[in-house]
């Protein structure tokens, strides 16, 4: 049985924040969960996917976040408790649905999890999704720990049903990827079927309907503010004259700093967990009891702006600070020492920062950037494309996935990237505005996610570029989740169909479509050359399963290769491919037989024909 289905209320379990969030959903009786995978949210859906195999939970990996939210909007409006999970930038994709769903509201509880990523550990930006609550007019909750995330999720569903609105549940990486001891609650039986009652004058958002619905949303928001005023998640600790307002993980750093600085009797801390709408009266009363106030929030001055506006309404002139050149930055994540220093500086507390070791005489340490795996089919494709495009002036828009790493030398393939699916759309622009050959790259899952509309645009508007679809049969980057092109039967999952990328490409009208097997270098180069010559939109589908996934499935892989005595000192393999299975020993190229997957690319390109398969895999 999945550990998150344990029926032992009160049991203490070591849980990752994302596991605690998933458990919270189960304790709230969630019946439907939808997602598009994205770090730092991925483990929530990974657990739901596993749990759905052995419980009544319906879970799906949707093609993108917008679709995921639309599915959940309908199930929730059929009275079934639903959850929609995404990373912060996924919310941008879902935003079109979100902003009008806020007007329509829900019947059964709907909680939308957005996992923000301050410092961009695994994201292209660090946008602060708290603004989505303001933009959409939806209530928002923010936990400060794994335990609270679990408990708060149950309340989020109740709140959603009470207000008949989706609730935004906003986390940051340090909530999602922190592990703590969590005390379990009761599991609630999910109600898996509901009913949808026709009510077009409240559901079909033509202008006349929406004008009423917007007014209704504002009424609901007023109600939400009253709940926020008395929410157990907005609490004041301490009785000092120095005020601190904080949210999310920042609260933990504040509590630790106050203790370390020994100012527990001087401060009064307002912890905000119900952060939209902010509790106006609670905050104004808090400000009135404080000499000065510091706002501790990672990201943008979301609370700060509103708190200052609240102060203005009451004619309060005390010092309120947060984002400031001398205090907190809008950049990156906070940490305990930073918060301690800012508290000491703002409140004038004597404090000598703890000094770390002197790093001035530490030699430069070689970087260890992540790289494409040994035997990764993307490396082979990039190599062949570079060979085929030799002599051409190119622009190579890329996309989001493992293959983004292809922008690093020596493959150096990847010139422009802004978001999921942007490879295709930006190719249209680059080919129009320049005379260079545009070759763009998109992964299979990303193609389904948001690549297809760009391709239709390219065909309709008669653009001129070559799109390479890197089809490795799985969503590799986020931990091998399925997508519509995956052969689910082969993975022993029943009840799925399969959508062919080739069929889609042809169906949207691409006239030049070719398929390559990237492990066959010469043939691939020839095929690519031909596609590059085509005037118009040409598509190359490069098919080879993800080597990491093949390994995880314990499927047979090729025999490892070794560098034989024919070796004369060429280093084309290292210089052109940079496969991590290579290493240099005694000034000679060697191949680590444990890492080598037997893809044979290096053997095919070795000018000395020195790389040969090991006869026996046992090494």
């Amino acid at each position: 049985m999945h550990k998150l289905l344990t029926r032992q209320p009160g049991l203490k379990m070591l849980l990752l924040g994302n596991e605690a969030i998933a458990r919270g959903g189960l304790e709230a009786g969630v019946a439907v969960a939808t997602t598009y995978p994205g770090t730092p949210s991925s483990e929530i859906s990974l657990n739901f996917f596993q749990i759905s195999q052995e419980s009544e939970l319906y879970f799906e990996y949707s093609t993108n976040e917008k679709v995921a939210l639309e599915v959940a909007a309908a199930t929730a409006n059929s009275g079934v408790r639903s959850m929609c999970v995404m990373k912060h930038v996924g919310m941008n994709v879902a935003a079109d649905a979100l902003l009008t769903l806020a007007y329509v509201g829900v019947k059964g509880g709907l909680v939308i999890v957005t996992a923000d990523d301050p410092f961009m550990f695994s994201s292209q930006n660090e946008q602060d999704n708290r603004y989505y609550s303001k933009l959409s007019g939806l209530p928002m909750l923010e936990p400060s720990s794994a335990q609270e995330a679990k408990d708060m999720m149950v309340d989020a569903f109740d709140l959603s049903e009470q207000l008949q609105l989706p609730v935004i549940f906003r986390t940051t990486t340090r909530i999602n990827h922190s592990t703590e001891i969590v005390s379990l609650g009761d599991l609630r039986e999910p109600k898996t079927k509901g009913d949808f009652k026709k009510d077009p004058f409240n559901y079909v958002t033509v202008p006349a309907v929406s004008r009423n619905l917007h007014a209704k949303l504002l009424e609901k928001l007023d109600k939400a503010e009253k709940i926020s005023e008395n929410s157990e998640y907005n609490i004041i600790y301490g009785e000092g004259d120095w005020g601190i307002i904080c949210n999310g993980v920042s609260c933990n750093y504040v509590f630790d700093a106050v203790k370390d600085l020994d100012i527990e009797n001087s401060v009064r801390i307002l912890r905000i967990g119900f952060s939209h709408p902010l509790p106006r009266v609670l905050i104004q009363d808090f400000l009135k009891t404080c000499e000065k106030v510091l706002i501790v929030e990672e990201g943008e001055p979301f609370m700060e702006e509103t708190v200052k506006a609240f102060a203005q309404e009451e004619g309060l002139t005390l010092s309120i600070k947060g984002k400031d050149d001398a205090l907190f930055s809008r950049l990156f994540e906070y940490n305990p020492a930073l918060v301690r220093e800012c508290l000491a500086a703002y409140f004038g507390v004597d404090y000598t920062p703890r000094t770390g070791v002197d790093l001035s005489d530490i030699p430069e340490i070689p970087q260890r950037p992540p790289s494409l795996c040994a035997g990764c089919s993307h490396r082979a494709t990039f190599y062949s494309v570079q060979k085929a495009a030799k002599g051409m002036e190119t622009i190579c828009p890329t996309d989001i996935g493992c293959y983004t790493l292809g922008f690093m030398p020596p493959l150096s393939t990847g010139d422009f990237l802004i978001c999921m699916g942007s490879s295709v759309g930006t190719s249209c622009g680059f080919s129009k505005a320049t005379n260079k050959k545009v070759i763009s790259f998109i992964g299979d899952s990303t193609f389904f996610h948001t690549g297809i509309p760009g391709l239709i645009n390219a065909v309709f508007n008669n653009h001129n570029f070559t799109l390479v679809i890197l089809d490795n049969g799985i969503t590799a980057m986020t931990g091998h989740q399925p997508h519509p092109g995956v052969d689910m039967k082969a993975l022993n999952f029943e009840g799925y169909a399969r959508v062919s990328i080739e069929d889609i490409v042809k169906a949207v009208g691409v006239k030049h479509v070719s398929i390559i097997r990237p492990y066959r270098v010469k043939k691939s180069v020839d095929t690519i050359k031909e596609a590059l010559m085509y005037k118009g939109v040409s598509v190359i589908i490069s098919q080879e399963p993800c080597t990491l996934f093949t390994k995880a499935l314990k499927k047979p892989r090729g025999k490892p290769f070794f560098v034989s005595e024919k070796y004369k000192g060429h280093r084309d393999c290292i210089n052109d491919l940079a496969c991590p299975a290579f290493f240099i020993k005694k000034n000679r190229v060697n191949i680590d037989p444990v890492l080598c997957s037997g893809c044979s690319i290096c053997a095919q390109i070795c000018p000395e024909h020195a790389i040969l398969p090991l006869k026996d895999k046992a090494v």
Partner: protein
């Protein structure tokens, strides 16, 4: 309970997350407050994996620069890279088996001299316990048990509030049965090696 702050750094695939899990489960079993955080920047693709573990009365799950009480490095250059987390009272445990980054293979970086690396760390911190954990892991019967070797050494130092028997109990119940014997042996080898180095 005064907080104790532990950092584990490793190269993706070295089993750092399993040792964090064993430590967390041990704390749960022993009733020790524990909070952990991990950053795996594309761990499976050869990047660096860092876990921070805070025992005792603290709410933060991460550790600021200069504030680790103990640093365990699964790979010597990664231990050196994490030295920014240490202060003069930090105890450092490091594997000495090198995993050369690819930047070194292609000649865009130079791997630091191991002797120099050790004397630098030793001079700047309270203590360095350094040995080849890979050799011991092999001796235990599984080259992948480097994580258990280092865990054994960590427990031996007594710097974190977990008893040897508690951790062994968790290894028995929470790690894969197939590796149980080698894991326990690796743990003991790490423990006794650290013991002999004091």
């Amino acid at each position: 309970m005064k907080p104790t702050r532990l950092i584990l750094v490793a190269v993706g695939g070295q089993g750092n997350l399993l040792s964090s899990k064993v430590i967390g489960e041990s704390a749960l079993l022993a009733g020790v407050p524990v909070r952990m955080s991990e950053i795996h920047g594309m761990a499976q693709r050869g990047g660096v994996v860092e876990s921070s573990i805070v025992f005792g009365d603290a709410k933060s799950t991460i550790i600021s620069d200069g504030e680790a009480d103990v640093l365990v490095g699964f790979e010597p250059s990664e231990t050196l890279r994490a030295l920014n987390k240490c202060n003069s009272r930090t105890v450092v445990i490091s594997n000495l088996a090198r995993m050369s980054p690819f930047t070194v293979t292609v000649g865009s970086g130079i791997y630091p001299d191991l002797k120099n690396l050790q004397s630098l760390i030793r001079a700047k911190t309270a203590n360095l316990i350094a040995f080849n954990a890979e050799v011991l892991a092999r001796e235990a019967g599984n080259v992948l048990s480097v994580n258990m070797v280092l865990l054994g050494a960590l427990i031996q130092t007594g710097k974190i509030p977990l008893a040897r028997e508690t951790v062994k109990e968790v290894i028995k119940t929470k790690t894969k049965k197939a590796f149980l014997e080698s894991n326990l042996k690796a743990f003991e080898l790490g423990f006794s090696t650290a013991n002999s180095m004091v």
